[in-house]
Amino acid sequence: MTSFVLQAKGLSRHYDGDGVRVRAVDSIDLTVEHGEAVSVMGPSGCGKSTLLHLLGGLERPTAGELWLGGQRVDQLSQTGWARLRRRSVGFVFQAFHLVDELSAVENVELPALLVGVGRRQARAKALGLLERLGVANRAGYLPDRLSGGERQRVALARALVNQPLLVLADEPTGNLDSAATAEILRLFAEVHEAGQTLLVVTHDPRVAASADRLLTMRDGSIVEDVRLESGLSRLALLAQVAGWEP
């Protein structure tokens, strides 16, 4: 299998309305390798959420090609995408999107059940993830009894339950306070260190800075694609923090 998790070529999403063509996403070329953590920043309306929706099959491109794990997916039918998404893509949204009528553990095990994992095994996986994300003691709670930070941890567990190729997150800390944001960031970092490929759309500098690679979007295009590692030694970093820059 290729080491590319994701590859887009000329990926576009245009809308025609009132005689004006809106280029929400305009001919984007992008390759994400296995194990990368990528953040996407840009002003409101730059197309970053639309890009995330295209990459996860929630919206269809009007032009261009998209590969996911070596499979071409831009031509897939609605049901084809639904099937692929369940196995290969995990989503984390700003508004959590948990099923209100299901408990935390039931929310997490649902995607596993949908791909045919047995009940007992799905439950065990879900509980294991809730444990790993520090919310095992909330397993039986309905979402409305959870704090924002807890809900997002449950949502992250749900995104991870089928060991997806790629986790896509749209403003995952947008509804969280500072402490809950720090906790979610720590968990994203752990998940990333365990080898999970991540792509996160965000306004939050803390979230953007936790990635290895930063994409900047403007007017539907990627205007910058850079690595964020500074490559400085720990001592040099500490000197920088202290304000004793060389």
Partner: protein
Amino acid sequence: MREAMLALLAKEPAHGYELRQRLTQALGPIGEVLSPGQVYITLSRMERAGLVRGDHVPQSAAPDKKVYEVTAEGREHVASWLLDLSWPKVAPVDFHLKLVAAAATGLADPVSLIDAQRRDLLRRLRDVQHLARDASADEDAILILEGTALRLQADIKWLEACERRWTTGRSS
């Protein structure tokens, strides 16, 4: 301030009064704190440093005025200032003047400068966050790193506002 004056002179030569007017224009009400004395002192220091050259221009009804133009060395100084990413001591007013100067002289694109600065600050923030994770046992280290991270976040958010200022009228 010194570099911003130099950059504005790189655009076109001016005498002290004109230069002060251009600076105050770029700063709005904040420019009012800029005294004429400050401008003249800075100009003569830059002249001694070889960054600008002053020429006396005779006037019919008034004493000679001194028109300053930037030297080759001064121009070089402006170019490296525009691309310099060092940040810790940079006040918003300085960075704003840098963007004004970049746009006025055409020596750099303000939006590119903002992007480069954001990239640099995000790298620093990433480093600080990593140090904080490694240092999670040491309360004092965490305290210092937290302060550093908060300042970087504030600066990065402010760059978003700068970006809006310099992209209005450009985007569709």
